[in-house]
């Protein structure tokens, strides 16, 4: 019987010849990531003292202050300072601040290594599966244990296979693939399981787009969202200087618990409606929803390709009056690259406001919250009630193009309506 990527990585990480879904294994952790909001300050700092008071291997620990940067209050500033001081005290040199949402920072600083186990105190850690790592979110006490001994127990997950064949049409992005998949499998349809995305469409996607898909695997309850490591992955890794890694792929005869097949040629822009991520429909079906805030950013939808797409659509256009468009590039290097390419200028000329690379808007901590009765269209990953501000506000999730198109018209808009007849358009 063949093995899945998850089974192969977890066999290696637990020092066994082979393991199978359902087995409980103790694994060696390749990278342990903490952010500021759920990092050392929650349970960890205090209790690590009683567990030997040192980190098993500071080189394998990464700490990223992203949620409370820039701090909007003294309390937030204190949390960032605490996190920074803690990193220093325990010899963690891989400390990043104001660098962008943790998952993007992890990926672009070469801390997500194919074939290894990456665990972080943030549920979207599963994004790292786009680079072939077994990446997953854990809680604080579990992280405490990992920091003390470098290991934790995991149940080897069953794997759901998600195949996307065909070709994406103009105006349709990976985010639409992501939302369509979640709408079909459901909010809890992959709980405890791994999801492996494959097919000609996935292979044709650039790294930026792939990450928008694996990032949201947890929105179906999945433990990890994996993709095959191919030439695109290898080129990305080479560019950021990651050289030593092992590539695993699922065997032909590996056991998948379920298979879903989708036709990308039939896919249209998708929107997840309040207040759950699987409440998905065609963007065209909710065009009457007026928009008050358009958010382009986050670890899901703030990468260079996302900003480029939005800029192409917004070039020479103005955002609708009375609406605010906020843009937060997903990291400092992305901010800089988007600036150098002229995308930020285009967005600013259209009327958007460019923010720091941060988590702030995505999770309603600072930089732009919504009021009761306001609707936000967002390229981020979660539309739970109250997440971006008032509990009486509504969050709709869409692709960066859908966000940009809606910002122009003032209501939820299928971006293809604005792209039709534009000869300069290239997706």
């Amino acid at each position: 019987m063949g093995k899945t990527i998850s089974e192969k990585i977890l066999a290696e990480a637990s020092g066994q010849k082979e393991v199978s879904a359902g087995q409980i294994v103790w694994v060696q952790v390749g990278r342990a990531m903490m952010d500021d909001i759920l990092g050392p300050r929650v349970e960890i700092a205090e209790k690590l003292r009683e567990l030997g008071n040192k980190v098993w291997d500071p080189e394998k620990v990464v700490i990223i202050s992203d949620h409370y940067t820039p701090p909007a209050s003294i309390k937030q500033a204190e949390i960032v300072k605490f996190t920074r001081d803690w990193a220093r005290e325990y010899g963690v040199e891989k400390y990043y601040e104001f660098a962008g949402p943790c998952h993007q920072v992890m990926a672009e600083t070469g801390n997500v290594i194919p074939g290894t186990v990456v665990l972080g105190t943030d549920s979207h850690t599963c994004m790292g599966g786009a680079l072939g790592a077994f990446a997953s979110g854990v809680g604080s006490t579990e992280m405490l244990g990992i920091l003390a001994v470098g290991q934790t127990w995991l149940k080897v997950p069953e794997t759901i296979k998600v195949v996307w064949e065909g070709a994406l049409r103009d105006g349709v992005m990976a985010k639409d693939i992501s939302l369509k998949t979640i709408g079909t499998i459901g909010h809890a349809g992959a709980t405890y399981k791994a999801v492996e995305y494959m097919g000609s469409v996935i292979s044709a996607l650039p790294m930026d787009e792939r990450m928008a898909i694996t990032n949201m695997a947890v929105e179906m309850g999945a433990k990890v969202g994996l993709m095959p490591t191919d030439e695109v992955t290898k080129a990305y890794l080479e560019r950021i200087g990651v050289k030593d890694y092992k590539v695993y792929s699922s065997d032909e005869d590996a056991a998948f618990c379920e298979t879903y097949a989708f036709d990308a040629s039939a896919l249209t822009p998708q929107v997840a409606c309040p207040h759950s991520v699987d409440n998905v429909t065609d963007a065209g079906n909710v065009r009457e929803v007026p928009i008050h805030q358009a958010y382009l950013g986050s670890c899901t939808g703030g990468r260079l390709n996302d900003i480029k797409m939005a800029a192409q659509l917004l070039k020479g256009k103005k955002i609708h009056s009375g609406l605010r468009m906020l843009v937060s590039p997903a990291s400092k290097p992305i901010w800089k690259a988007a600036d150098e390419a002229g995308y930020l200028k285009i967005l600013a000329e259209a009327g958007a406001v460019i923010l720091a690379p941060t988590c702030g808007v995505c999770v309603g901590l600072h930089s732009g919250l919504i009021a009761g009765g306001e609707n936000c269209i967002s390229s981020s990953n979660r539309n739970f009630i109250g997440r971006m501000g008032s509990k009486q506000g509504n969050i709709y999730l869409g692709s960066p193009l859908t966000v940009a198109a809606s910002a122009v018209t003032g209501h939820i808009t299928d971006p293809r309506e604005l792209l039709q007849g534009d000869p300069t358009w290239v997706n």
């Binding site: 409980i24 567990l51 309390k75 579990e142 405490l144 244990g145 909010h187 309850g221 009630i385």
Partner: protein, 162 residues
């Protein structure tokens, strides 16, 4: 551990971590933030919960964030047992790790708010004293019981001399 009794606080499907721990209050301590827990669906929650009460939901309890502040808040408010038909993965692990017992009970939908419950953890059973009914729960694997018995992962690791 034996038997635990308490009143049910009952909710439905998809009670996520943004509801249990609203992100806007996460810079506060668990104690301060607990006043806002569940406020999106039950503004009275923190006022009406009593130590020993059971937190009961239906499907997919605890979806969303990895924030352990959610089970820590429930624990701070005195909840030792949560009951649901199914859980999101990280929340389930976090409950165990902080020392809350997460029971998987297919019949949790038969429990109503205010019902008096009695849980037999080892026997994998919940008695509804108000309705005079009994519900079976999935038994917890041995390695998880070992963690629960000592009160959470921290105590477990400490006991192992780590």
């Amino acid at each position: 551990m034996g038997e635990l009794t308490g009143k049910a606080l009952k909710y439905g499907d998809n009670i996520n971590t943004d509801i249990i721990s609203p992100p806007q209050y996460m810079e506060l301590s668990i104690e301060e933030a607990s006043a806002y827990s569940m406020s999106a669906v039950d503004p009275e929650f923190s006022a009406r919960v009593r130590p020993g009460d059971f937190f009961v939901a239906e499907n997919n309890l605890g979806s969303g964030s990895s924030r352990e502040t959610s089970p820590l808040t429930l624990k701070y408010l005195g909840i030792h047992v949560v009951v649901a038909r199914s859980y999101a993965r990280i929340f389930y692990r976090n409950c165990i790790n902080v020392g809350i017992i997460p029971l998987i009970c297919e019949k949790s939908n038969q429990i109503e708010d205010g019902d008096e419950l009695k849980a037999d953890i080892e026997g994998g059973r919940i008695l509804n004293l108000t309705k005079n009914e009994s519900y079976e729960c999935e038994s917890l694997p041995e390695h998880i019981m070992a963690i629960i018995h000592v009160g959470g992962l921290f105590q477990y690791l400490k006991g192992k001399g780590r």
